[in-house]
Structures are given as C-alpha cells and as structure tokens.
Amino acid sequence: MAKVTIERIPSVVKPLSVRQTEERLAYLFIAPWVIGFTIFTAGAMLFSLYISMNDTDLLSTSEFVGLGNFAKTFQEKLFYKSLGVTFTYTMMVVPIGTLVALGIAMLLNQKVEPIALWRTIYYLPAVVSGVAVALLWGWVLNPEFGLVNQGLRLIGIQGPRWFASEEWAIPGVVLIAVWGTGTNMLLYLAGLQAVPTELQEAARIDGANAWQVFRNVTLPLITPTIFFNVVTNIIASFQVFTTAYVLTQGGPNNATLTMVLYLYRESFQLFHFGYASVLAWMLFAIILVFTMVLLRSSSFWVHYEGGLRR
C-alpha cells in the first residue's frame, strides 16, 4: 500500500498588516457618519433632486414636469427679489464682518489686562441662540424706542426706521450678523498668534512702521485664515434664515425675503415642494460657484508659510 503523506498547506490568508488593520478601523470609525450622511443628507438630496422635476405638493398631486420648475423660477418676481436680497446681504456682511472680526482680533492680540475677560465679552454674542439674538435686536433697533435710535437722538441724529424701512431692513440684519462675529474673531486671533514674532521684529528692526509690519508681514501670513473665514461666511450668509424669519417674516414688503425664507414659504405655506426643491438646488449651485471662484483665486492671494507657489 502506498504511503500517503499529508502535508500541511500553508495558509494563503496572510495576517493583516498594521496598515490594513488601521484602515479597517478607520472605516469602522467613520461608518456612523457615512451611514448618517447617506440616509439623512445624500438620500434627502437625491429625493429633493427627484421632486424638483415634479410639480408636487407631496400630499395629493405629483406630475413630472422635467425642467418646468426650473423655468418657472425665471418667471417669478419674488425669485429675483429674494436673490437680490440675499446677494446684497452677502456682499455687505462678508466684508464688514471680516473687517470687524479682524479688527477686534487685533485688539485682543494685545497684552492688555484683563485680556481673558475682554475675549469672553467679545465672544459671548456668538454663543447666544439665533432666535434670542433676533428678538433682542428687534427691540434694540425699534425706530421709536430702540436703544440705537435713542442713542442717535442724543447726538442729534434722526435714526433710520430699520425694520420699518425697505432701505434699512437689510442693513439691520447685517448689523445683527456682524454683532455675532465672535467665532470669526476667534479664528483670526488664533491666526494672528501663529504669526512668528521674529518676522515682525525683523521688519521693525529694518525700519518698518506698524502699518508696514501689518501690511507686509502679518496680513500675508493670516491670509489662510481670512480665506477660510470668507469661504465659510459666504456659504453661511447665502443661507441666512433665522433672523429674517423671526424678526421680519421677510418684510417689510419682502425687503428681507432671503432665498431660504422664500424657499420655506413656497414649500410649507404654498405646498410647492417641487419648485422649492429647485430653489434649493439653485442656491446650492450659486454657493458652489462662489466657492469655486474663491478657491481658484486663492493661489493669487493666499500665502502659506513655507508654501510653494504653483
């Protein structure tokens, strides 16, 4: 009888490398977010895209209209109004907010006691809820008895009618937003504190004055922070809703009808969910365009420490 020898075949399954193990763990850790994103964000976005091509109230009627809702936007007066209002708001709040936040950050970057208290005071508005802020400022900007106009009256200035005026309503909303600029201020402060002091000292030794040091040393080195803030602020300002909803309901006479508020009205008050979805996608596209333009432009004006220009 032949002798049968059984040899152990070495396992073809290699044990996982450290890198592979780490990869699997990484996927496991991000899985909750991915699942949540898939269902509640991506899924919702896809559903929104689907209903944007339908004339639907989500309750009783649904008719496929293709790009009909998209064409409708260009015939609606309120679409242009809301676009104009949102655009005006963004073009005001982003530059003013940037300057104010940077200015405050520069002040808070000084060695002044009690600095922790000052930083807390300037940051506090950022932690107050949007609804509370809107309610508060509604009283502060009251044209008759609000604090701002009372103060202006003391120095002989007739204050504007703020939310009772179509011209001053948006500046009022901008003022509220700029007041709450604590988060941006904090980021600028971090950026300023990361600027190497030896570079500033070297510039001073070479005879640069304060403005020259700021313009030629500090400012270029905080451009990454400015870039980040400008991008995020543009994205946020195009989506402004709370102040307009709580304070003015889009009035007076649609002077503060932002795109998101318009979209909200069309969906929850008029049941035009398909059309409202198109508005949401158009807003998305507008924000995307602005973001891409800024990203493209960043290579010209954003300087990274030790970075190489392409």
């Binding site: 991915v34 898939t38 989500l58 309750l59 509604g138 008759e144 309901q249 009035g251 990274y304």
Partner: protein
C-alpha cells in the same frame, strides 16, 4: 503636525498619509509620499468604491421613499357612534389650564360614554403649522386638530380633511342644527363644498373701550349707533401726546393682517374679491380704496391709530390686552376674550365692549372659523367623528366656557355662558357682555370670501399692507397695482 506642505504631495489624500508618516518619525517625506501613493491609490479606489455604493444605496432609498403624492385613504366613518372604537390623537391648541380642564372633563364624560374610544390629548407644538404639514406628508397627522379657513383650505384642497357633511346629515336632526349660528355653520363649508369641521367657539371682532380714558376726555361711550365718523372724532379726542411721543392712541386695529383687515372694505361698500368669480380681486374699487384711505389717514395723517412698530418689533407679537390695560389705547378693535381680558386687566381700569362702529355702507366684522378638523388619513374615523361631535356638544361648550369665557357655538347655552362669566369675574357684569349675543342676532359677523388661490393672494396682500401701513409714505392707489398682481397670480 508641521505647517502645510501642500506642494510636496500630489493630492490631499497623499498629504494626509504623509502627515501620518511624518508624525510617526519617518524622515524621508518624499519617500513617504512615494510609498503612500502606492497604497493610497488602493485606498482611494476603495474609498471611491465605497462612496459610489453609498450613493447607489441612497438612490435606492430615495426611490423606495414611496409615492410622493398619496392622499390618505378615505377615512369615511362606516356607521353610527355605537360602533366607534379606536385611539384618537387630539391635538389641542390652548393654555395649559385649558388643556388640563379639557383632559379632566373628557375623562369624566366622553371617556365614560365611549369606553371603546381612547383619546390622547397632545398640546400643539411651536411651529405647529409646518409640523402639521410634515406630519401629513409622513402619514401620521393627529386625528383631530384645530384649524381655520386660512390653513384648512390648503389641507382640504389636498385631500387631507375629512368632509363631515355626510356625517352631519346622518347624525344631526334639523332641530339640532338650529342650535348653531347660521352664519358660522355656513362659513364652515369651503368653496370646494367640503364641510371642514366642527366649530370650536365663537370669536367676533368688537370694540374694547377704556371707560376711564373716555371719562377723562369727556367723550361719550360708544354704542351700536356709532358710525365711522363718530369713531374717528372720538379717537382724535382720546389721543394724547407728550412732545412728539404719543402717550395714548385713540384706536388700535391690526391693519397689517389681511385676516383682520378685509371687512373694513365691506364696511365702506367695497369687496375684497368677487364671490361669483374668486379669481377676480375687487379691492381696487373706489369704495375699497376709501376704506384703505380711512385707515392710512388715521395712522399717518391724524396719528390716532397705533403704528405697528410702536408696539413691538415685526415678527413679534405683542400683548394687546396688557397695552390696553396700561392705557396705551383708548379703543381696540379685536376679538372677544372676556376671561383673558379680566385676568390681564385685573380691575385696573373700567372698560367695556361695544359693536364695531358701522361703516358708511354697513356693519361687518370677522367671525372666526376656528374649528375642529378630522384628518382624512385617520385610522379611526368613527372615533374621530364621535370626538368632534362631543366637542361641539352643549356639555363640552359649557365646560369650555368655564375655562375660557369664550362664546359657545350653541345658542341654547348662551344664558349659561353669561352666568358663568359673571360668576367667575364679577366685574364682567359691567362690560356689556350682551354685545356678543346681540351680534349673533344682528347677523353681521362672518368670514371673508376666499380668493381662488387664497394663500398666494395673501402672500401678495400682506407685504402690500406692510408697505402702506407699516412703512408708510405710499398712497392707497398702490392697491390698484396689487390687485393686478393678485389677478395675474390667480390664473
């Protein structure tokens, strides 16, 4: 991690990997990138693959989201009340005190009469209207909820409202129906011919007047003979100022709300919209414009009518009753809330109710259509209808009066209503509560004629009212342009 070295690695993923190796002390950064690029190429493909699978899954989920437009199955009650059973979610819009009283009364009466029907009372949340829409879309709206024509028309047009007309015909006799107010019963039928619900209470616009201020100014109290001229004359005498700040306004009338404004047009002989053709706005007629002008002049020229923004910021409500009690207004044109007013005023002033002065053409005011609505998608339509009948019944109406003082929807319990009001707040004996029943007899309250696309029309009208009556500086001829805009929208 050191400062960004974005030029050294070809992609942000490479950079992340580079940073990892830099962090663990690998000195050859370029080598690290080369090493990592091989592996990240694999990772990048895998990541893209995973993402693609996720999006495909999301697409499937979206597609499987179900029919985007499915009106609920017709919840037609089958037979009479004896067989009613099931759980009914009743959404209640009122104060905590009212909710508690309703729950207790429900348990002790309806709960005993209908042991097979379980009613769960839930308070209406903030943002109720939007949440109700979301609940309807999600298929889990409350079985019975409160609504009125401004909102319910939209729900009814979309098949969300139980038409109770067949049920009324089945369960009510002609004598029963006589116990309801004819004008209110009529106004609960929508243009689509659906009877949308059971009235909750009666609320009619009246004039509240501050007797102390009238006495101080030497002005005779208003009565049912008052005209708009008397109204304006009194308002001028009652308005007082300190410098350029107005202390007391002669009158307050919520002109910025179309729901409260429309009847003034009819008082002057005009109309808001044709009742024969609801796509045709008529508020640009000369008579209607006279009504607009009467109000505009009162606010901006004579300065006797309170400006909205002097009361509270836009977007915020204000407590009219508290301001009335403080003497800010000598007269207010608003609803009929005896208990609420007695509680707020606390005998600080002597006050009373009067009919809103008749206009040049007639007397007309809003009689609200707040009612209990059955959701068409209810799984217990018989039980929901039994609850609605109970809420419109004499016993519940009397109980509601004990908590709120609101006028009941049943004529047969009006005497009890007045007695309950005066027992609870004896000062109400001097406020002329009889004006409530008198208005019902005179028949001048009612609801407005709805536009063909009423919500769209109001979205044009509200900003227009703001422009003329809150911002100011715009002549009332502006409403001619607004009428054209509304007409275009109705097409």
């Amino acid at each position: 991690m050191s400062a960004t070295r974005s030029g050294d690695c070809a992609s942000s993923v490479d950079f992340v990997v580079y940073s990892h190796y830099a962090a663990i002390g690998q000195s050859d950064q370029k080598g690290a990138c080369l090493v990592s690029r091989g592996e990240t190429g694999q990772t990048r493909r895998r990541l893209l693959g995973l993402f693609g699978a996720s999006m495909a899954g999301a697409t499937v989920l979206a597609a499987c989201g179900g029919d985007t437009a499915s009106a609920p199955a017709a919840g037609a009650p089958s037979s009479g009340g004896a067989s009613a059973k099931g759980t009914v979610r009743w959404q209640f819009r009122g104060s905590d005190e009212e909710l508690k009283a309703s729950q207790e009364y429900l348990d002790s009466t309806f709960g005993k009469d209908k042991p097979n029907v379980k009613v769960t009372l839930e308070p209406a949340p903030d943002g109720r209207d939007e949440k109700l829409v979301a609940a309807m879309v999600g298929g889990n709206a409350p079985d019975v909820f409160e609504s009125w024509t401004d909102n319910v028309t939209q729900y009814a047009d979309r098949g969300q409202v139980l038409d109770i007309e067949p049920l009324v015909k089945r369960d009510y006799k002609a004598e029963d129906l006589k116990d309801f107010y004819e004008w209110q019963w009529r106004d609960f039928v929508l243009p689509s011919k659906i009877r949308f619900g059971m009235p909750k209470y009666v609320n009619v616009m009246f004039t509240w007047y501050n007797k102390d201020l009238f006495d101080k100014a030497g002005v005779k109290y208003p009565d049912e003979k008052w005209t708009h001229d008397d109204y304006m004359t009194a308002a001028k005498k009652l308005t007082t100022s300190k410098g350029d700040q107005t202390d007391t306004f002669g009158m307050m009338y919520p002109v910025w709300s179309w729901d409260r404004f429309w009847y003034r047009l009819e008082m002057f002989g005009g109309e808001a919209v044709s009742d024969k053709d609801p796509s045709k706005p008529l508020f640009d007629s000369d008579k209607a414009l006279q009504a607009f002008e009467w109000v505009r002049k009162a606010i901006w020229d004579d300065k006797v009518m309170a400006q909205r923004l002097l009361l509270a910021p836009m977007g915020q409500s204000f407590n009219t009753q508290a301001l009335f009690a403080s003497g800010k207004f000598a007269m207010v044109e608003d609803g009929f809330y005896p208990f609420s007013m007695a509680k707020t005023i606390e005998k600080k002033i002597k006050w009373g109710y009067s009919h809103v002065p008749a206009g040049p053409a007639k007397r007309r005011v809003l009689g609200t259509t707040d009612g209990w609505v059955g959701w068409k998608g209810t799984k217990a339509p018989d039980a929901a209808w039994e609850l609605m009948k109970y809420l419109g019944g004499k016993d519940y109406q009397v109980n509601q009066t004990r908590t709120t003082g609101l006028l009941p929807i049943r004529t047969s319990v009006l005497d009890q209503w007045k007695k309950i009001c005066i027992e609870k707040y004896p000062e109400l004996a001097d406020v002329n509560l009889d004006v409530g029943p008198a208005a019902m007899k005179m028949g001048y309250p009612g609801n407005r004629v709805l536009f063909k696309k009423d919500a769209e029309a109001r979205q044009i009208l509200s900003p227009a009212l703001e422009k003329v009556f809150i911002v100011g500086g715009t002549p009332v001829s502006y409403f001619k342009d607004v009428a054209k805009e509304v007409e275009a929208k109705m097409k």
